[in-house]
């Protein structure tokens, strides 16, 4: 019984330098476990604590994702071991590409019941990779998952749906994307952090993996910064709240939005 946690080691775009030509430079930004991924680690850990399943972390990206700190940061979150593909040919790879590589890794691990992922990544924020991974594997893909537990012969899950909360039973492998507040992820503890260095890490070569090649590609035409928005930026001093309120209400009435 193996549960895979598919996560990302990535920087926050807030820390990137964006040129006037729309180029995005992440070189000064610090990477970390992607903001919405800890919940996937926690769900995996809770299921594994109940079932004794092995928890394997998987991450793919460019060469910079494989650092000692990155490995330990992941291993300190309840993983038994870690598998990484770090190759500069994956720099800027789209969601389908990343999903194809992840799928090859998951197939190689074998005997995987569940792949758990976060809702979306902190840097790209599309919320697509996990569901495309399901497609690559030919498995059921479900997002907005708010609860996972082991049950006889499979897993019981809950999901947020527009009308409320749906409960489901899984009897085969699936890829699940968790809502960010599915569960409060525990803070990596002392023992986890100090023990991380001892856990196994496997680095797989992209050339050795059987990855479907891309059929459709994007040809870049142009890039730009988002339009500044031409906001008026009228700043009012709020230390006299009554006067400030009067000034604002007056301006909004004049602008005919009130």
């Amino acid at each position: 019984m193996t549960i895979v946690v598919a996560y990302k080691w990535a920087p926050n775009p807030q820390d990137a330098a964006v040129g006037s030509d729309g180029s995005v430079d992440f070189s000064r930004a610090k990477s970390a476990i992607s903001e919405y991924d800890p919940v996937a680690f926690e769900l995996a850990r809770q299921v594994a604590e109940a079932t004794g399943a092995e928890v394997v972390g998987v991450t793919v990206g460019d060469a910079s994702i494989d650092t000692s700190l990155a490995r330990k940061a992941a291993l300190s979150r309840g993983l038994d071991r870690l598998v990484i593909v770090a190759d500069d040919r994956l720099a800027g790879a789209d969601s389908t590409r990343l999903a194809a590589v992840l799928a090859a890794v998951v197939r190689g691990i074998g005997d995987v019941d569940l792949v758990l992922a976060g809702e979306s990544s902190v840097d790209v924020t599309e919320g697509q990779v996990a569901m495309t991974l399901a497609g690559q594997l030919g498995w059921l893909g479900l997002n907005a998952v708010s609860s996972v537990s082991a049950t006889d012969g499979g897993y019981a899950i809950e999901r947020d749906v527009p009308s409320g909360t749906a409960s489901m039973v899984l009897t085969g492998p699936a890829v699940l994307a968790a809502t960010t507040d599915a569960v409060l992820s525990r803070v990596p503890g002392m023992k986890d952090i100090l023990g991380a260095a001892k856990k196994p890490v496997e680095v797989l070569s992209l050339d050795m993996l059987d990855v479907s090649s891309a059929q459709v590609t994007l040809t870049a035409v142009s890039a730009s910064r988002p339009a500044a928005g031409n906001r008026q930026r009228v700043i009012i001093d709020g230390s006299d709240p009554t006067a400030a309120a009067a000034e604002l209400v007056g301006a909004l009435r004049a602008a005919k939005v009130l």
Binding site: S68, L69, K72, S76, R186, V187, G189, M190, L194, A196
Partner: protein
């Protein structure tokens, strides 16, 4: 010389920061300070994340850890604005680890691992503060028991703790130092009574008088060897001084950051007060003191980790850290002006708590006594 953090230190500090955000916001600390309560829920959260059993051998449920890392964690908790939030209990338990019986070790370390306060230090008496060997509490051994009579005062955390680590005179010998023994006495033993003291500093640690009136317990309560109490106590005093210094560092950093932020936002005479030179002078000198305290704390921790004898280093570090940290808080109070002296403000709490560290754990003056003699001895 590598002043950077290891991966483990970065991850530990990240976790600690997250834990503090969740379990120890300023509103929590302010409320505890106002109501004179201990940070029990935060202590439990630290325990659950495994931070409570740091620096101990694994066979007692601990995780071995170096002094530099421990001081980083102590500094960070203090920087949140919480006084005595981390480090003190762990370090006190080292006494038991080194000298205690198997049963005592299991008991105390088990309590620590469960996030409880295992014991309070029962040394100070009304007539024996800095002059600790002038104590008059007696421990009479007879027929497999020990009977205690005496009064301890200004004892911290006793009301929260299971035991009192009592230093008492166990014989009538001339040399006061060989007459003192160390004992673990249960706080709920018949004959033990307490009187809570209201103080103006360290509100999140209770302080009380403890009266022992014919308190009789089995002599298995002895820690280590009879007559060896003083020497046993001295053993870990340096480590205690280091933890206090790291605590002072964190609290002072918090006060400094608050004051600098305030100075950049508070407008008087049409400008932020941070643009006036007298405020800049204060902030600059505060920054220098913080850098000094930091270097002192981590160099001393490094010496501990390298097994280099501290000699006077611990005393020098504690004296400087406590005094300089208080000066930083005092300047911060001045920068805040009238706002700082309002009850419930963080800067006023930091100022009060830092004042306590100038006599807690050994006064500024005793540190001179310790270091001064050592310096002369080394230069003979």
């Amino acid at each position: 010389m590598d002043f950077g953090l290891t991966d483990e230190q970065e991850l530990l500090l990240d976790s600690l920061r997250e834990l503090l955000e969740r379990e120890c916001p300023e509103s929590y600390i302010a409320e505890l300070d106002r109501t004179h309560q201990a940070p029990t829920s935060f202590r439990l959260a630290l325990h659950e994340a495994g931070f409570a059993s740091l620096g101990f051998p694994e066979e007692y449920g601990g995780t071995p850890c170096d002094a530099v890392t421990l001081m980083m964690l102590t500094e960070r908790v203090s920087q949140q604005g919480l006084n005595n939030g981390y480090g003190i209990e762990l370090l006190q338990a080292k006494d038991i680890l080194e000298f205690g019986s198997q049963e005592q070790k299991a008991d105390i370390l088990g309590l620590l691992a469960a996030g409880a306060v295992p014991f309070a230090l029962g040394f100070t008496e009304p007539g024996a503060g800095s002059d600790n060997s002038a104590m008059t509490t007696t421990a009479v051994h007879r027929d497999g028991t020990v009977t205690f009579n005496g009064t301890k005062t200004l004892i911290t955390n006793a009301l929260d703790a299971k035991y009192l680590l009592v230093m008492a005179k166990s014989s009538d010998g001339d040399d006061e130092r060989t007459a003192i023994s160390m004992y673990l006495v249960p706080m709920d033993a018949p004959g033990v009574s307490t009187n809570k003291l209201e103080k103006i500093v360290w509100n999140t640690n209770d302080s009380c008088e403890i009266f022992m009136d014919d308190v009789t317990v089995p002599d298995s309560c002895l820690v280590g060897r009879q007559g060896n109490g003083f020497r046993q106590l001295m053993r870990n005093l340096d480590l205690e001084r280091l933890v206090i210094a790291a605590t002072c560092l964190g609290l002072a950093q918090c006060a400094f950051d608050d004051a600098a932020t305030y100075a950049s936002q508070r407008v008087q005479f049409g400008k932020p007060i941070g643009s006036f030179q007298l405020i800049q002078l204060k902030l600059t000198d505060m920054a220098i003191k913080l850098e000094n305290i930091r270097n002192f704390v981590y160099k001393t921790s490094w010496m501990v980790d390298q097994g280099i004898p501290l000699r006077s280093q611990g005393a020098l570090c504690k004296r400087y850290a406590a005094m300089a940290a208080f000066e930083v808080a005092d300047d911060a109070m001045q920068i805040f002006g009238g706002i700082g002296v309002n009850a419930g403000t963080r800067v006023s709490r930091l100022w009060r708590d830092l004042r306590g560290h100038r006599f807690g754990g050994g006064t500024d003056e005793i540190m001179v006594h310790i270091a001064g003699r050592q310096i002369i001895r080394e230069h003979r």
